[in-house]
Assembly symmetry: C2
Homo-oligomer: 498 residues x 2
């Protein structure tokens, strides 16, 4: 279960990355992941939850005739640990861009701590993902339906659903704590900020709420990926950095495609050299994101600290070998750790709603500009709002609002703002995860805190505990539990006083 846990969160933020990258023409692959999403979606996974559907309103922020249309939003409940009579807390996962079952299965942390807190667990699916389709099969048809997919409507859904649920359960005095990882973590943090009367606190794991506008340097994401490799081995970093030029050179050869197909041991002859570039790119980015301290089986099985392992492969190859062949060998660890693949499929795969949904979000409000600097191990690349806008208009007929997220949720000078406003938020980040660079990395106040682990990766704290967890991870989770306990104690004390 633990390995699947890492897999899913990987996927989720991958979607963010792909969504942004596709538009800004940094070569990150999308199609391959999306087909995996579909595959996983079909898998039947047993989860200790009951499925419910809530009649949700389509548009919370207008009163147009269509706004009151009802759709059914999926949510999951586990009440086996809940002490309702004692006003036991309600832990709500604010679902991100995917089927909510995945998040329920893969947020083992919440299940692990529920007994200690006598908590009710609720996982709410994000509109336009999984089964929560406002227009059924037509939900992704055009901007006329997709227009209702955005984070504010999602947050309002959560607010309405939680309020109704508490009313139906007659548990008005039960405090709510929201949890989320990745985009779900952004939603959890924003939910606490916008709906403090509904949630007494938020645990936001690997939530890059500062990856917008000009708050975080645009090159930081890929610089961070590169830093992971540089930290493992300077030679390794240099080899990967040099491999792209070799690939480019091959692309101008007459027999370039054949050579690359051969070198990359493809099952079928390649149609484009770019497929090889994407394939490598994906391997390095993902391995950095999930540079977990234990062996894990996420998208692909990987050893503990897989970045180090990749670099060991590169450093171990003969000096005379080409950089590209070394990069291929390293990437093969990602695609073939189990040594079962005879050849690789670098092209193919189908699109899925999950991915398409994030593409839409990336083209409307979730505009996260990213570039590759000269310091990174990736080919230099820039970002242009103008080109991005043109791409989005072409793809969806929609114009991005790149400054809207920071207008609606803030982000600039966040320390100064939240030092004097708000409370009860945990921002946890693992510094191996390139998304950490867009996260909150410093304590803001006594109750808005950043929990950083140098060796942690993408929301590793939200995974189920395993017997191999290192001390720093055990400690991080303990800290989170202690902080949540404090929030609850304070809440119950205040409640008594009133």
């Amino acid at each position: 279960m633990a390995s699947f846990s890492s897999y899913i969160f990987l996927i989720i933020l991958f979607i963010i990355s792909v969504g942004a990258s596709k538009i800004k023409s940094i070569y990150l692959p999308g199609t391959y992941q999306s087909s995996l999403l579909v595959k996983k979606h079909d898998e039947k996974t047993k989860i200790p939850f009951k499925t419910h559907y809530f009649p949700q309103i389509l548009d919370h922020f207008t009163f147009l005739p269509r706004s009151s249309k009802v759709f059914y939003q999926k949510y999951l409940i586990n009440d086996q640990y809940w002490h309702k009579e004692g006003g036991g807390p309600i832990f709500v996962y604010t679902g991100n861009e995917g089927n909510i079952d995945w998040f329920a299965v893969n947020t083992g942390f919440m299940i692990d701590i529920a007994p200690k807190f006598n908590a009710l667990l609720v996982f709410i699916e994000h509109r336009f993902y999984g089964d929560s389709m406002p227009f059924g099969n037509n939900s992704y048809k055009s901007a006329k339906t997709l227009g209702y997919l955005n984070s504010q409507q999602a947050l309002a859904n959560y607010a309405v659903l939680i309020r109704s649920l508490k009313q139906n359960l007659s548990s008005d005095s039960s405090p709510v704590v929201v949890f989320g990882g990745s985009y779900g973590g952004m939603l959890a943090a924003w939910f606490r900020l916008k709906y403090p009367h509904i949630a007494i606190g938020a645990v936001a794991s690997s939530a890059p709420i500062l990856q917008f506008d000009k708050i975080t340097p645009w090159s930081s994401f890929y610089d961070a990926v590169s830093q992971d490799f540089k930290d493992a081995s300077l030679n390794c970093y240099k080899v990967i950095k040099g491999s792209w030029a070799e690939l480019d050179a091959l692309s101008t050869h007459d027999d370039g495609l054949i050579e690359v197909s051969k070198l990359f041991r493809t099952c079928k002859a390649l149609h484009s050299v770019y497929s090889a570039r994407d394939w490598l790119w994906e391997a390095f980015v993902y391995t950095a994101m999930v540079n977990y301290p234990t062996e894990a089986n996420f998208m692909m099985p990987l050893p503990a600290y897989p970045v180090e392992e990749m670099c060991k492969i590169i450093d171990g190859l003969p000096k005379g070998a080409s950089k590209l062949s070394k990069a291929f060998a390293a990437a093969s660890l990602y695609y073939n750790y189990t040594q079962t693949e005879k050849c690789f499929n670098l092209e193919g795969g189908t699109d899925s709603h999950g991915l398409h949904g994030w593409d839409w979000q990336a083209c409307t409000e979730m505009v996260m500009p990213m570039t590759c600097s000269n310091e990174s191990m990736f080919p230099l690349s820039s970002f242009s709002y103008k080109e991005f806008t043109q791409d989005c208009k072409k793809q969806f007929g929609v114009k991005p609002r790149p400054h809207w997220i920071t207008t609606e949720f803030g982000g600039y000078r966040i320390e100064q703002v939240l030092k004097r406003f708000g409370s009860n938020m945990i921002f946890s980040n693992g510094m191996q995860d390139p998304w950490s660079r867009g996260g909150v990395l410093k304590n803001i106040s006594s109750s808005i805190v950043a929990l950083i682990t140098q060796k942690g990766a993408h929301h590793v704290d939200f995974r189920s505990e395993t017997k191999n967890d290192p001390d720093w991870l055990i400690m991080q989770r303990k800290q989170e539990v202690a902080i949540i306990e404090k929030w609850l104690q304070e809440y119950y004390k205040d409640l008594k006083q009133n």
Copy 2:
């Protein structure tokens, strides 16, 4: 100017009252006020502001094709006191349901204190009021256009406009403080809660943010009006309370209409006895709301503490006179303090967009249930969500969302929530004002404070200072200035540190 100031805020909250009352069949008159609104709207008033128009987005919370339509939102600027180079503050009035010129003219407090703070003054008009019509003359045509009129879209407008304005003025470090009275005060308070990254504090005068759902007892508004009269004279209260039955009795007489027309010295014969009831009702409610400590000319000229004066009239009439004739004499003070009216027009008047707009808001999100209890001096009346919904469906084809405001902005257990979240808010209320009962009347934390005056009425603190202002009013304004100063000092200190 001072008297006009009181007049306009009176009007504004009157609209709230009328909006709600029309729907819930408490007999508060509407048509008469709306014609006055139109009259004042035509008046050319000189104000020390320059008018601007901002290209505003229609729908901030969807990405439907129509959402990005641009309309022109009016705002006013006074920069004569602003020390821009020193990072002087920006004081923004969050416009309520009317032409923004009125608010600019009638919020003399902001003009009075601007020099002391070297502040820029900005007054922003609320969408669908004044000149800020998203669909021009068709804006009020149907739910398809009016659907975009609500408080969240208005707040988002303010956020987008302020951010753009600061950028254009290159005044990124200038702190913003929002001000508002009545519904505008509700918006100011909510703006601070939802956009703390844009406004460092809010001064919300007479803002009944708790007049929703079941937070405040539904009878409290009319009980408070009645208390004002009871405090002035128990007999006075009893006379008014008894007058309605006498009017009802007349309505069953064959010659009832003629008798009432005669008694009320109407210019034309009445078509309905209810017109007399509305006429009395309006006089008593309004006089309570603007029970100001100084002579003032608002809707009608009135003496200082007009409730006391009304009761003196009632108590001074012979014992044998009917209660209805006494109530009429008291109400005449309101309509004819200058003794210039030979007869009264109890019926007639036209609707205006201003009023219509609030009716829409009252039928969608601003659902403020009100009843008249047996303790009040008004006829017993109840409120039914079912009937209210039917009326709104009939009038606008829209279904109210009566629990939405408390879901979106909170309100229940506000002390407990905001004690641990948020900062820098002033809630000022005068206890003579019946709207105070739906306001925040207790300090919540060291920086979320309630400034209460026992003798104050509807946002009297926001009126221009006059030489006759009583000490408690001078003191209240001084307190507000001192608190704002503290917010600013803290902000500049934090800014330096970062």
